[in-house]
């Protein structure tokens, strides 16, 4: 492959993030993706209306996140007494029991990071939708990259399922409204990520700036 090495920085070439092999950026159609010929890592994806759709999913996700915090997740009944818990109660319970490290970990991974991901996406994409420049797209995109591994809502859902199954053995447990909202929040967030095409993001930013 002939590669023009005389560039300052370029969007015409891309190095595979997992093996560093240089590829020239092909013209791929919407809905298609390109993988590294050497290691198979995903290099490019193109989505139709990527930024609009990602914003719509992020706003939907935020709405469900708010709903998920308003009602109980699970309700548990035993001998006529009942208890229910909200999303943040797990983190608070760890904190109160003296396991403050776990309280912080659970708070970040189930509340702060999932919310922050949605807020960053919205504050990035909403101004762009209105033809304005976001306050600091560089910072926002870097923040998004670093937040991503710590937002663990989908794993939290499995945690709820396991807790539910364990409790069923000795008490009556029922699913609260918030659990449904929480599941929908996770679906919307995943969709917001999947539809977001970063190269479209950068080229749109360039358009707005000029």
């Amino acid at each position: 492959m002939e590669i023009d090495k005389d560039f300052s920085y370029t969007e015409a070439l891309v190095a595979c993030p997992e093996c560093d092999l240089i590829h020239s950026v092909p013209k791929i159609r919407e809905g298609e993706q390109g993988r590294c010929i050497r290691c198979g890592a995903l290099l490019f994806v193109r989505h139709k209306n990527s930024l609009n759709r990602s914003l719509a999913f992020a706003l939907t996700g935020l709405m469900f996140f708010i709903l998920a915090n308003m009602f109980p997740l699970l309700t548990f009944q035993l001998e006529g007494q009942s208890e229910s818990n909200r999303l943040i109660d797990g983190a608070i319970a760890f904190w109160n029991a003296g396991y403050w490290e776990l309280g912080i970990v659970v708070f970040i991974s189930s509340v702060v990071a999932p919310l922050a991901v949605l807020l960053v996406l919205i504050t990035l994409l909403l101004p762009m939708q209105l033809n304005r420049f976001p306050f600091s797209p560089q910072f926002q995109i870097r923040l998004l990259t670093h937040l991503k591994p710590w937002a663990m809502s989908e794993i939290f859902i499995l945690g709820i399922i396991v807790a539910f199954v364990k409790l069923q053995d000795f008490a009556d447990v029922s699913v609260g409204l918030s659990l449904i909202a929480f599941v929908l929040m996770v679906v919307a967030t995943v969709m917001a990520y999947l539809t977001l095409d970063e190269s479209a993001l950068w080229s749109r930013l360039k358009e707005i700036r000029t």
Partner: protein, 209 residues
């Protein structure tokens, strides 16, 4: 075989945040910050192998208390049951919840050990300059990075139980010290996977022996 053209071989650096390819000349003349997203540019993750080693050793040490100490205690009608990670899996299996038991076993017992062994193998294979099965090793890394977070299931499960089951004499769930060690193993192995640079697997491809 001729050496493949990589960013490194042409003196360029690919931004780890936004993927922009920046030439060595730009970095020398301007700065080592990405011109598009401002992230600090590195050709390879800094001290990747030694950091991965250190984190893996820490995770392996903590794996022992994580499995020996109880992670939760259930007191119900005066009877108390204390579970370790494995004890929780066995209890689920005994109560007939096989599917859930398998999920928890894979996430809590198999995944942490698999991650530690897989990353150790990757680090050592790079240090020994192993030339075979690069693509399979790349796949192994991708898989290891993907599954790591799923071990948090047990921590979330415990957080939900202790937040929900607090009916004093009737039923109360409390967390055990094993939970801290277990969460530490999960988080440290996540950092270990992030510290490893998969490009090192490929870096000596096409070099003269």
């Amino acid at each position: 075989m001729t050496a493949p053209v990589t960013a490194k071989s042409t003196g360029a650096v690919s931004c780890h945040v936004c993927g922009l390819l920046v030439s060595g000349r730009y970095i020398a003349e301007h700065s080592a910050d990405c011109p598009r997203c401002d992230a600090v540019l590195h050709s390879r993750k800094i001290n990747s192998l030694s950091r991965t080693w250190a984190l893996l050793i820490a995770a392996a040490v903590l794996y022992i208390p994580a499995n020996v100490y109880p992670v939760l205690t259930l007191v119900s009608f005066g009877q108390s049951t204390t579970n370790t990670i494995m004890g929780g899996v066995i209890e689920l299996a005994q109560s007939g919840q096989l599917v859930i038991a398998v999920i928890v076993f894979v996430a809590s017992v198999f995944v942490p050990i698999f991650k530690i062994v897989a990353l150790l193998f990757l680090v050592v294979s790079v240090q020994l300059r192993l030339k075979i099965q690069r693509r399979k090793r790349a796949l192994l890394y991708r898989f290891t990075e993907f599954i790591g977070r799923w071990s948090m299931i047990d921590i979330f499960m415990i957080s939900i139980l202790i937040g929900l089951v607090k009916l004093q004499a009737l039923a109360t769930v409390t967390a055990g010290p094993g939970a801290i060690a277990f969460a530490a193993v999960v988080i440290i192995t996540m950092f270990a996977a992030m510290a490893f640079d998969p490009r090192l697997i490929w870096d000596d491809e096409g070099e003269r022996q």
